[in-house]
Symmetry: C2
Subunit: 196 residues, 2 copies
């Protein structure tokens, strides 16, 4: 994706929030869009998150290290916000990594930029809050479904609802994301292939 296309994608996203043209312009002028090569570490355990991101192109992965093993807990693709809320909002050191799973174009925000924009466009506070609530709703639903499902059901839901993830993310990272060892995911895939 070219920088021009990335900027266009960003403008379209901001417009979708129902803002006036001059407000969109103001936001665009105050927003930093940066390119991060695959593998860039955006946040690591012990660091306090100072930035929040939105994926314009590429992918970001959240993972923890536990007993020397990586556990992937979230993947963010195009137009998804990337926030480590506990660390960012309460200045608590992060317990996880945020890393670019692909070359990525991201918007980069911080507390100060956010405050400035909310001062310039007061109703932005409400818009951001609604966006946070929608994202929270999605996270709530995802957690509920995770609790209720078997690993095979979790994999089938990814196939149905986030197929792109399965095409773009290595299988061993998907395995920990649905709560199983890589060998178990291979077994699930084989079983499903036989059924199909």
């Amino acid at each position: 994706m070219t920088e021009k296309e990335v900027n266009l994608a960003f403008l379209q996203m901001v417009k979708s929030f129902g803002l006036e043209d001059h407000e969109v312009e103001l936001i665009a002028k105050n927003t930093t869009i940066k390119f991060f090569p695959k593998g860039t570490v955006l946040l690591e355990p012990g660091q306090v998150a100072k930035h929040c991101y939105m994926v314009l192109h590429g992918a970001v992965r959240a993972y923890y290290l536990k007993n020397g093993e990586e556990h992937s807990t979230a993947f963010y693709l195009e137009m998804e916000p990337v926030n480590s809320f506990t660390s960012f909002t309460q200045s608590i050191p992060s317990r996880h990594y945020l890393v670019c799973a692909e070359d990525a174009w991201l918007t980069v925000g911080d507390e100060k930029i956010e405050q400035k924009m909310c001062m310039l466009i007061p109703r932005l506070e409400h818009i951001i809050r609604r966006e946070v609530e929608v994202a929270t709703g999605k996270a709530q639903d995802e957690h509920d479904l995770f609790i209720m499902s078997s690993p095979e059901e979790r994999y089938l839901r990814l196939l149905k609802e986030r197929k792109e993830l399965l095409q773009r993310i290595p299988q061993h990272q998907i395995a920990s994301y649905i709560g199983v060892a890589p060998e178990s995911l291979s077994r699930i895939r084989k079983r499903l292939a036989v059924k199909a």
Copy 2:
């Protein structure tokens, strides 16, 4: 708990948000606090959530029915907000139940009351947003830990961090909450008792 004590608990909570006395008064005047007997269904599948709640006293449980079985996915105790964000924010029918797990005193809010209060106290929008972000951070962390943990580790974490829940909520509901059948939870508890 008497109604007077409940009101006092509410005032203390509102004050903790860093509001001025006259703002606290305004909020108190516009907030409905209601008593719900144990078993009251606050929301059920198919219904659009019109209200959001805060537990002042008692407990609320979220659960799904799947193949005729209850799967508890959240428990809310004192001073915890109860929101079904996807349904409330986007007017989408809920997929879960919200039910009072104990006799409960709850604040009852809706879109209209919220808008009115934010008009009367503009910075309330920011305060609510921060509260939502903190709650979201907690939910994020909980989901991450859930993915990474075995059922035994999940139980041990409840013992350490939310012991009260184990004392107040029936064991079969705790079982589905940590993702196991009731018999498995019994085995976990026995194993831990032998170790102790």
